[in-house]
């Protein structure tokens, strides 16, 4: 053990650790929006699950405390309040997570849209980066912005 410790003390560890999945600018890799999507998928996933816990507790109010408390809670969501803004952010996270998740299920679980193996030829861009999932990824970003804006309209302007 002492020997191993001595050895690891002599080696420098440049491993970025958790910074790698919160910092999209850690490495500058061209032609790789998937990495941004990966980081956003994680961050939105964490936001969405924290929202989920709060949502389950808050929707328990009618059963726990009755409908009067529920009405008071709903009033917090009317107009621009801290609750409604946080709610709106959580909705955006869920929308992105769902849209990107559709692409991930297709690519990861079903291996669809990731191109097919080929003999490498110039300009040497991997089939994964040319596959249908790339189109889906761009569609994800576009749809996300549109849906989130629509949701903002529904929440704050109706």
């Amino acid at each position: 053990m002492a020997g191993r410790q001595g050895r690891s003390a002599r080696l420098l560890d440049l491993r970025p650790g958790w910074k790698a999945f919160v910092n999209p600018w850690l490495l500058r890799i061209a032609n790789n929006p998937e990495r941004l999507a990966f980081i956003m998928h994680r961050v939105t996933g964490v936001i969405a699950s924290l929202f989920l816990f709060l949502h389950i507790i808050s929707t328990n109010v009618p059963a726990r405390e009755g409908w009067e408390a529920w009405r008071e809670e709903v009033m917090n969501l009317q107009g621009l309040t801290l609750t409604s803004i946080l709610f709106y952010i959580a909705m955006g996270a869920i929308l992105f997570h769902g849209l990107n998740g559709t692409r991930l299920i297709l690519a990861e679980a079903l291996a669809l849209g990731i191109g097919r193996p080929e003999k490498p030829k110039p300009p040497y861009i991997a089939p994964l980066l040319r596959g249908f999932q790339r189109t889906l990824l761009y569609a994800t970003f576009v749809l996300w912005i549109i849906l989130w804006a629509l949701l903002g309209y529904v929440m704050f302007f109706t």
């Binding site: 490495l27 998937e34 990861e108 990731i114 080929e118 089939p127 980066l129």
Partner: protein
């Protein structure tokens, strides 16, 4: 990433380029950035520049390299924030007149031994763990083979791309999961696992699937695709891992069956020549019988002279 940038071949780098190199001295336990100024020439690679620094400016700079032409995979480094092979990167590609600076760091996700040299022990350990070799049940046949194994061209094409890996470690240094998860097998090992699992000549697929079936194996990957974007050999580890995961899920559901091919057996005997149909005619002055009897003559001297 345009790994193969045709324009780079004709680009001219700035006359003087500043090299910022992240150095590390294990005896003192000290890490610092050091500056060098290098006079460039057209076609200079980053590796050339580093060797020039080592030869002319600072002999203490330590780096690992071998073939200088992207075959051995020794000189992986982070150049201006991108994991690349130093020998494959033109200075002109990464430095411009507006910003004649090249930042060189040792690869992330590896331990640094000294300056730009990193420790590959963990990397090779993980590669070894997925059994990157053909496994046959029939030991007798394997030790004393009489015939080669059958491999159809389309089967060959399904894993050829993944067998081009040169183990340079760029994919691992780009992987965001590997950066935080020490136990993750990494893109290189998983791509190699897939390459051997779908090889029809291999019979060790079940044990390999057991090895990769964990959070630190194939399920550690979350499709950031950085590995595929930095690979200098277009191995596409990202796609290999997705295929492996899909295959593993199908296998667990009983929907995937491995295709195994054995030795081809003896070749058929040369068949008798079928006689030409009566309407077929040879060119005037050519006799088929004579042609078959005579030796092939290639006029080598004439061809060279011509």
């Amino acid at each position: 990433m345009a790994i193969f940038d045709a324009r780079a071949a004709v680009m001219i780098p700035p006359r003087k380029v500043k090299f910022l190199i992240r150095r590390y001295n294990p005896e003192e336990g000290r890490s610092w950035w050091q500056e060098y100024e290098v006079e460039t020439y057209r076609g200079m690679t980053v590796l050339d520049a580093l060797l020039k620094i080592k030869e002319e400016i600072d002999h203490t700079l330590v780096l690992r390299y071998s073939c200088r032409m992207a075959v051995c995979g020794s000189c992986g480094m982070i150049i201006n924030g991108t994991p690349r092979l130093a020998c494959q990167t033109q200075v002109a590609e990464v430095a411009s007149e507006a910003r004649p600076v090249v930042k060189v760091e040792p690869m992330y996700n590896f331990k640094v031994i000294r300056d730009l040299v990193v420790d590959f022990t963990e990397f090779f350990e993980k590669h070894r763990r997925v059994k990157p070799y053909l496994i046959r049940r029939d030991v007798e046949e394997r030790e004393n083979p009489k015939y080669e194994y059958r491999l159809l061209p389309e089967e060959y094409e399904s894993f050829y791309q993944y067998s081009l890996c040169i183990a340079c470690g760029l994919c691992v240094s780009a992987c965001p999961v590997f950066a935080s998860d020490r136990r993750f097998l990494g893109p290189q090992a998983l791509a190699q696992a897939y390459r051997f699992i779908i090889d029809p000549r291999d019979e060790g697929w079940a044990e390999r699937l057991e090895i990769v079936d964990s959070e630190d194996g194939v399920f550690g990957c979350h499709l950031a695709a950085s590995c595929s974007a930095v690979c200098p050999k277009e191995v596409d580890p990202g796609a290999a891992i997705q295929r492996l995961r899909s295959l593993l899920l199908r296998y667990r559901l009983g929907l995937w069956k491995k295709k195994i091919s054995g030795p081809v057996g003896p070749l058929e005997k040369k068949a008798e020549r079928k006689p030409l149909p009566p309407e077929a005619e040879t060119l005037p002055g050519v006799s088929l019988e004579e042609l078959e009897e005579s030796e092939v003559e290639i006029p080598v001297d004439e061809l060279i002279a011509g």
